[in-house]
Amino acid sequence: MSFDYINMVLKPMLDGTKVTLLLFLIVIIFSIPLGFLLTLAVRSRFKPLSLIVHAYIYVMRGTPLLLQLLFIVFGLPLLPVIGDYLVLDRFVAACLGFVLNYAAYFAEIFRGGLLAIDRGQYEAAQVLGFNKWQTMTRIILPQMFRVALPTVANESITLVKDTSLLYAVAVPELLHYAQTAVNRDFTIVPYFVAAVIYLVITLLLTMILKRIERKYQFE
């Protein structure tokens, strides 16, 4: 296991890491707000909306992410009539699949966060004269995010590893380049390199998240 060899495989793997990180960022940026909207929809007094979103969350959490990805990337174009219009760039399609899936998980996390907030908070806000919007944005949401933070952190670590599912829909990312090198060179070294890269990413992410958690300790 020479350094020259590691150097050689590292180059394309780092390129793949860029794709991995890009997917990660896109999913975080879009699925967290979308998840929050879903939480609000689930709590909506308009029953049909609540019901539909409940069903959506059930399906998204109840079927494998891999199946959902295959469905969006390879399945949608097979649909009669509209299929032709649903041929998306594979990376874009994969992003879509991840965002839709993770939003469902974040929705449940935020819902739990809202449930954890004491009724007394709403009552105090009401007696002090806050309107609904002020109560939500200034009192309830900051506390909800605080409660949800550790679970959101956990979920983002899972997301880092889930990005490797891109491999199955033939979007070249970190794992793809590792596998290519293994097949070509008959050595397991690229697997180790990939593992180290994933570990570095999750380590950095853990450190960032810990810092955010500490900042929102409220103590």
Binding site: V127, I139, F218
Partner: protein, 247 residues
């Protein structure tokens, strides 16, 4: 005219009558203590006054305006104006845990009253001084003792310049050694002629500070009189039994 007038208030959950035809008044500058066994409806009555509970029938008039008249509530905007005259202190403080003491005090006047921040700072530090917590302005509630939290909650309610303060068992969640500091703040407020309605289990406080004591049991006002009368010479058997149990 009395500051608060409640007439024939009725409230029930399902078929259970929690408040049965309650009528009473609170005069300006009066301190009224409401005592009675658990489940007698004291807290529900107090919470009805600020619209934290919806009543089924009856009339609640605050400072001449009807919050509810014969079971019909005023318009939301009017309800807001009427309840804005009242401040409330809860058993479990209900401070906002994500805000510092100072922010807890200043957020409502800032957002609701659009008060300028210079005035806010002056008033919040004066009030924290008054409740003896000037040095804890930047602490988060999690770092405070129960007694300190309740004093912050009182200061927070006072920031809105209420004309009456309602206390819902303000010392019931406190360790016994911490009730004194809260009761002292409340006594100071009474001495300053603050109008107050206090639901409490602190008989000593009711005896010493209240102008009038209302004894409730099973959703009814059994007796309403001066503390001397209620504690030394209760007329009703249920009052006697309740106070006897407490001795």
């Amino acid at each position: 005219m009395a500051f608060i007038e409640v007439t024939n208030l009725i409230k029930s959950y399902d078929r259970l009558d929690v408040l049965k035809q309650i009528s009473f008044t609170v005069e300006r500058n009066e301190v009224v203590a409401i005592i009675g066994p658990s489940g007698s409806g004291k807290s529900t009555l107090l919470r009805s006054l600020v619209h934290l509970e919806t009543i089924d029938n009856g009339t609640i008039t605050v400072d001449g305006s009807n919050l509810v008249k014969n079971g019909v509530y005023a318009k939301p905007k009017e309800i807001k104006e009427i309840t804005a005259k009242m401040g409330m202190v809860f058993q479990h403080f209900n401070l906002f845990p994500h805000l510092t003491v100072k922010q807890n005090l200043e957020l409502a006047p800032k957002l609701v009253r659009k008060e300028a921040s210079g005035d806010l700072e002056k008033r919040s530090s004066a009030l924290l001084e008054k409740v003896g917590l000037a040095d804890r302005a930047d602490a988060f509630p999690a770092k405070l003792s129960g007694g300190q939290k309740q004093r912050v909650a009182i200061a927070r309610a006072l920031m809105m310049n209420p004309e009456i303060l309602l206390f819902d068992e303000p010392t019931s969640a406190l360790d016994p050694e911490l009730t004194g500091e809260v009761l002292k703040v409340m006594k100071d407020l009474a001495d300053e002629q603050m109008t107050m309605v206090v639901v409490t289990h602190e008989m000593a406080f009711a005896k010493e500070v209240a102008d009038r004591v209302i004894f409730m049991d099973k959703g009814e006002i059994i007796e309403s009189d001066s503390p001397a009368q209620i504690f030394k010479n209760p007329k009703n058997e249920r009052t006697k039994a309740f106070l006897g149990l407490l001795e």
